[in-house]
Subunit: 482 residues, 2 copies
């Protein structure tokens, strides 16, 4: 009785509007057996027999499709249109499936209905059932989410971002939107895209004499942001814990599978951090363990690892199943380990204190030495940007890179330099950045933050090595379809 | 006993890492009286008396700060540094407050501690306690989140986006990221920002003869997207319900309080819609009622409406408190109503069938005729983009604009034209858009969608009229700070 009352209250307070359940929702809460059920989706595969056809229908809501059993009741002409890729609406009964591999199936008998909502010419259809290469699918990027792998990747991104939002809310963080268009060419070296100048006259305006030369829309040069950190820092002096998951851009010419010209970054900044850079590592580790832990065993991740390397997957699972904390190691200790390993000259570049870790060094640390994620902390100051907090040793800064097997650098973070005088010396003559100093001058509090490449996170947990397959519609040098 | 067991289970299963509670979290779950509590934040105001000082501390987590009672125990020199804007860490006991206006206060007696983490020169501090104009705060955009109003707006954005995510998940939608950089200059007329060409040689590369002319980074002209709709449509042919909350850009020269050059849009596309354009309106209304209904009575909204117009607020509350559906009206009926009203010549522009509704017409419909939100549906085809579905009357399309009082157009949506042949005719010679036709050719299903300006939504529910105050760091023609 109590339960019944609760249920009816819930029904009243909920919105009356509701779309028809997706296949995922249907299978999670199957209706009673005599309930007439309508399912809309696309035919993923179909097998036609004399008196019955078996079709797998997907609506993209889950890795599993729904098997529909279509009893003969249509003419051949109609059946011919039931092809892979066709959009259909089926009405029948959801019944317990006698077959293995699925809990339920949709039985469409003579009382049921099959409507074709959109035909698909199976000869011309670019998404054939046979294995399609990643390169081919990149050429058909507008259709590639119709493959199981790309669809699973899109859903994994959805799951990740929801888990991330949940985690940050639990820790009192506020989600904030910082600008994409900025006056900062933050990390310099021409890696920021710049906006073209605009015609001073609006094209709709009637011509009033000679055209004026193009000018800056914002009255000064404008770039696409390479990072949201500086803007988040400004917000974190007011709302002490902020984060964003937002697009970033780099005009990098790199054509490797680890770089995109447009990518998403998870960035967080918070005031009043504890335990220096180790506290920042701890927060990052807790975030990743909570966020990824809930997803790593999902059907979608299984789809993505299907053709992947089992030993790599085991290393990943170990990182999330072990209760022990991830390894932390100072840059100085890392160099020492690399030097020892380097005596058997397995490296192309000699590891040397004061020089950047090369990709091969990072791989060795994560894949050979630690065999799991490793935080490398306290890099030499000249290797890192000006905003990282100087350590007392005056040589290193309170920063870390999180290196993970087969991906490399996944996260970079640091305590930020909150001392206005120290920062001003490091910045030198950065005209236009007075605002960044202001943040320290007026109640500047100790604070810290990190940035994580979202596509690299997807790559790591899914085993999909090329990050062009970790975002729905990738952009890189020379390539921008749609 | 049962409760105790539940509590200990929860503690075990939760992540071990946790930041110190924010002021909001502390006040929601106050510790027991004898617990030593540490609070970090900024002084919002301070009143110094002979033996005691009263400071309000904020960490940006909620509209309410925490009052701290500091019993004398420090010298005058130290007390002088406790100024508005200074960053502090206070340790004391959270006790029930004897004063009104707060449930708890932090008592810092001789056993407690006051640490100044960042001083703030109260003379020079740009954020004085006196009322600061919006224009002044825009000039100090890096500091303006320290005001109660801007901080409340940032938190309202956070609340809105969380409620939006929750609602779409409940309806089986998948959150997806579509590109910012695109080859489409979608709505034409030069309103899309274009990326500048890049130097063909990387600046880091050594000069190897004469410099090459600049070229397109992506091998073709690249723009910042004005809408995510077309890309979402591609995804919705695979994952049948998708949405995004993402930046959009328009190089508009408008200097009104209703336009930004960079803004966020909530856009959704779904396959297999029901009830034509009315079904799209119903979904939009359900979304808004569920999302806004949970926020409209919050402390943060109260802060934002503080100096607002009470009658406007009542109109807003009515829209969300009444159980009746919002008004739907065809464009043709709207024109009829406007014609009647226009006979007393209250309009500058004569309302005429076939012409766009002017801003004054939209205002009259929402503010005078309906006195609430109104869906205007089925506009003449030539007034709307090519992708909207043609109605059977062959003159109008299955679309709507949602007009709301004092904001104007908040949402625009439609059923999309899913018939390849009809669409192809309407598109004419749109080379490079073959992919968009492909979506219809291969299992093209009926689908629908809408776009909602996120800053306009914030403006509507908060009574903040100028949308430059509805985003943390606004950009408009001629203006881009930071």
């Amino acid at each position: 009785m109590v339960l019944r009352r609760l249920a009816s209250t819930a029904a009243t307070s909920a919105s009356k509007f509701s779309l028809a359940p997706t296949i995922k929702q249907l299978l999670e809460r199957p209706p009673t057996a005599d309930h007439v059920t309508t399912v809309s989706g696309w035919i993923k595969s179909i097998r036609k027999q004399k008196n019955v056809s078996f079709a797998v229908i997907t609506d993209g809501s889950s890795a599993k499709g729904l098997q529909a059993v279509l009893l003969k009741g249509k003419d051949d002409e109609f059946l011919r249109k039931l092809t892979n890729g066709a959009a259909v609406r089926l009405t029948g009964q959801l019944v317990t499936s006698p077959g293995s591999g699925q809990s339920h199936e949709l039985l469409v008998d003579q009382h049921g209905e099959v409507a074709i909502l959109g035909e698909c010419d199976s000869e011309a259809y670019p998404i054939q059932k046979k294995d399609l290469t990643p390169e081919y699918l990149r050429e058909h990027v507008h259709l590639r989410a119709r493959t199981a792998q790309i669809a699973a990747m899109v859903r994994v991104r959805d799951s990740l971002s929801r888990q991330i939002d949940k985690w940050f809310a639990s820790q009192g963080f506020c989600y904030a939107n910082t600008p994409i268009i900025t006056g900062n060419d933050a990390e310099g070296a021409g890696e920021a895209f710049r906006l073209a100048q605009v015609d001073t006259q609006h094209p709709a305006a009637a011509p009033t004499g000679a055209p004026l030369p193009p000018s800056e829309f914002f009255s000064r040069p404008a770039f696409l942001t390479v990072s949201h950190q500086l803007h988040l820092e400004a917000l974190a002096t007011a709302i002490s814990r902020v984060y964003t998951l937002s697009p970033c851009f780099r005009a990098e010419r790199s054509l490797t599978g680890r770089h995109l010209a447009e990518f998403w970054m998870l960035e967080a900044e918070w005031a009043f951090p504890q335990n220096g850079v180790h506290g920042v590592c701890d927060l990052t580790e807790a975030l990743l363990k909570d966020v990824v832990g809930g997803i790593i065993g999902s059907e979608d991740i299984d789809v993505l690892w299907k053709d992947g390397d089992d030993s790599r997957r085991q290393i990943l699972l170990d990182a999330f199943s072990h209760k022990t904390p991830w390894t932390k190691m100072s840059y100085t200790d890392a160099i020492r380990e690399l030097e020892v390993a380097g005596t058997s000259s397995q490296f192309e570049f000699t590891p040397t204190w004061g020089h950047s870790l090369q990709s091969e060094h990072e791989k060795w640390l994560a894949e050979k030495l630690v065999c799991g994620p490793v935080f490398v902390t306290d890099y030499p100051a000249p290797l890192k940007p000006f905003y990282m907090r100087a350590n007392d040793d005056s040589h290193t800064v309170a920063c870390f890179d999180l290196l993970v097997p087969h991906v490399g650098e996944l996260v970079g973070g640091s305590v930020r330099e909150e001392r206005a005088d120290v920062l001003e010396k490091k910045m030198g003559n950065l005209a236009g950045s007075e605002w960044y100093l202001d943040l320290r001058k007026y109640g500047g509090a100790p604070h810290a933050g990190f940035g994580m490449g979202f596509e690299r996170l997807v790559s790591w947990i899914s085993g999909v090595e090329n990050i062009r397959e970790c975002t729905p519609m990738p952009r890189w040098a020379g390539r921008m379809l749609l």
